[in-house]
């Protein structure tokens, strides 16, 4: 070993050949990775820019009225976003109201109640729900859920809640099965696996000491979940709900199948309605006329802005929840 070293010392040119090859590629490789990253950045910025530019004619023509009127008439070339924007918000709110408690229930079941042997298979089954493509939910909603609701659930809602003042207005009209409420329920099913997965994580990260202390003073399983786990994981849970909300707002296919696609604003949740994404899916390829296209892109921009804001909120909450649990 020693002799070998001294041998190379005699011939400096051999030392040079021992310098690892490929040093020259260091910088190009670094730039290559940076270029890929810049491509991702550019894609998102370009998306924003193009949506803004292409929607400008509609906003210039209709101004603020675009957001607060519900006329949608390609013949007279007047467009207002109120119906689809309302539809998007209402279906997403229904999805959150129905989906959140169920998802938290699923998480509590998996973390606290479920026998250990069943835990993994059930968790996988629920996560597979997240992998099912949205068009499959759409078909299932149209051919299975909508007839079921229309035949057995909605007539009862109309009969029992319909006559109640104020709330009753939400449950009027013939029980078609397709409509705003069905779309909201499909969305609820679709966001359950997302919220449940976040909920399992944040509920599981509650320090065991707290849980044990609560059981120690004689709390029941439900009391531990309700008064210790959920309050402690509150922020992370809300972050998870916001992530689910982001998905619900942008979901297209499942909604398009079951919402009925009507531009009319209606108080009843059982009437057909529409959402931003459903309007885009149905009308974009057939849109003729620059103002029509521009109005559709403006809808897209509104949707993008709303999901972006929701993502920001979710990230802020989840990041703070993370910091606290560390």
């Amino acid at each position: 070993m020693f002799s070998e070293d001294s041998a190379t010392m005699d011939r400096p040119e051999e030392v040079a050949t021992r310098i690892p090859s490929g040093l020259k590629l260091n910088l190009p490789f670094r730039w290559l990775t940076a270029a890929a990253a810049m491509l991702v950045v550019a894609a998102l910025l370009a998306m924003l820019a193009i949506l803004a530019v292409d929607s400008a004619p509609a906003f210039r023509r209709f101004g603020f009225a675009f957001l607060v009127t519900s006329a949608w008439n390609p013949v007279t070339d007047t467009y207002g976003a109120l119906a689809p924007v309302t539809g998007t918000l209402v279906t997403s709110v229904i999805a959150m109201l129905v989906g959140t408690p169920v998802a938290v229930g699923v998480a509590i079941f998996l973390n606290e109640i479920c026998p250990h042997r069943l835990r993994d298979p059930l968790a996988i089954a629920i996560e597979l729900l997240a992998a099912v493509p949205s068009i499959i939910y759409g078909m299932w909603g149209l051919f299975v859920l909508a007839p079921l609701l229309g035949r057995h659930v909605y007539p009862a809602l109309i009969h029992w809640i319909g006559p109640v003042p104020v709330v009753g207005a939400l449950f009027q009209g013939p029980p078609f099965g397709i409509g705003t409420l069905t779309a909201g329920l499909i969305l609820a099913i679709m966001v359950i696996p997302f919220i449940a997965s976040v909920a399992r994580q944040v509920l599981g990260s509650v320090p065991p000491m707290l849980r044990e202390a609560a059981y120690g003073v004689g709390a029941t399983t439900w009391e531990v979940a309700r008064h210790v786990l959920i309050p402690h994981a509150r922020r992370g849970l809300i972050g998870g709900v916001m992530l689910g909300l982001g998905r619900a707002l942008g979901e297209t296919m499942a909604v398009t199948f079951v919402i009925g696609n009507a531009h009319r604003l209606s108080a009843s949740l059982l009437h057909p309605g529409t959402t931003i994404s459903a309007v885009l899916a149905n009308e974009f390829t057939e849109a003729s006329g620059d103002l029509y296209l521009s109005s559709l892109v403006a809808l897209g921009l509104i949707l993008f802005a709303v999901t972006f804001a929701v993502l920001l909120g979710a990230r802020a909450l989840l990041a703070r929840a993370d910091r606290r649990s560390v």
């Binding site: 990253a37 169920v102 509590i108 068009i135 149209l142 029941t220």
Partner: protein, 282 residues
């Protein structure tokens, strides 16, 4: 001390009711999955024949299959993933290896997350604006581009997460041997994280092979068997959408056959990805 039995009983009662509701929530969710699988199998298998794979989509009332849609889906998905994987892996590498302390990294990460959560129909809108409009016609390329945009952020995310799991001692050992940084990344960290990176790519394939919304106004549809990416291209999800919403019974049956094909491949891919990730954990 006197224990009020009434309160204890009430608390136990509430506990029992609420836990029962939790069990119901879990059972309900699993029941939905079971119902979806049951409908797909019972309605899909019946209409799945050899012709489904060999003949192109029929006009209403005619005989046909889904061959053109299957081919179109395969071509666009493969193109998208071939483009998205290098971009995604390199971006993830930049974030995990080079930009650790840079102020650019949080920005890239945030924009990547925004892309990940952007509604897929908006991605389709973007692909329409920058590819379909200038080219003047719908095309398979535009569809593949939209799918690639959906796949990239998934791959970036998993690549960065997986590279972050590689211990720094490995990097230091390689550096101490005098290995150039790029070779250290390619030969040591990529190799150590290979399983995770492949998992990410598989998840991306699973995600895009069921996507419908971004294809509606990029690749559009086509009722003929075509391998021409420069023209309108059919895909399974779009064919399912068109057929399921139609009033014709035989079209609806083909839609179920297509839905079964898409779901089975997506679920198999997800399970495969999960299995790979699990083996990596060990």
């Amino acid at each position: 001390m006197k224990v009020d039995i009434g309160i204890v009983r009430r608390r136990r009662g509430i506990n029992r009711v609420m836990l029962a509701l939790c069990v119901l929530a879990a059972l309900g969710s699993v029941a939905v999955l079971a119902s979806i699988m049951w409908e797909l199998l019972s309605r899909g298998v019946a209409s799945l024949t050899l012709a489904t794979f060999l003949q192109p989509t029929p006009p209403p009332g005619g005989q046909g299959g889904l061959a053109n849609a299957i081919l179109g889906s395969l071509m666009m998905t493969v193109t998208a993933i071939v483009v998205a994987t290098p971009v995604g892996v390199l971006t993830g590498t930049y974030l995990a290896e080079y930009a650790r302390r840079s102020r650019l990294a949080p920005v890239v990460r945030f924009l990547n997350d925004s892309l990940l959560s952007a509604p897929s129909i908006i991605i389709g809108l973007f692909a329409y604006a920058i590819l379909v409009m200038p080219m003047g016609h719908f095309s398979g390329w535009a569809g593949a581009f939209a799918l690639a945009l959906i796949a990239v952020p998934v791959i970036v995310r998993t690549t960065e997460d997986m590279l972050a799991l590689v211990p720094d001692q490995l990097r230091e050992a390689a550096a101490a041997l005098g290995v150039p940084a790029w070779r250290m990344i390619v030969r040591v960290t990529w190799r150590a994280a290979a399983r995770g990176i492949v998992t990410g790519a598989l998840l991306a394939v699973a995600r895009i092979s069921g996507e419908t919304a971004p294809l509606l106004f990029t690749a559009l549809n086509n009722q003929f068997l075509t391998a021409n990416m420069d023209g309108p291209m059919p895909s399974l999800p779009v064919a399912i959408f068109q057929f399921a919403m139609s009033p014709y019974k035989d079209w609806q049956q083909l839609a179920w056959a297509g839905a079964l094909l898409v779901s089975v491949s997506v679920l198999l891919l997800s399970i495969l990805a999960r299995a790979m990730a699990a083996r990596g954990d060990r």
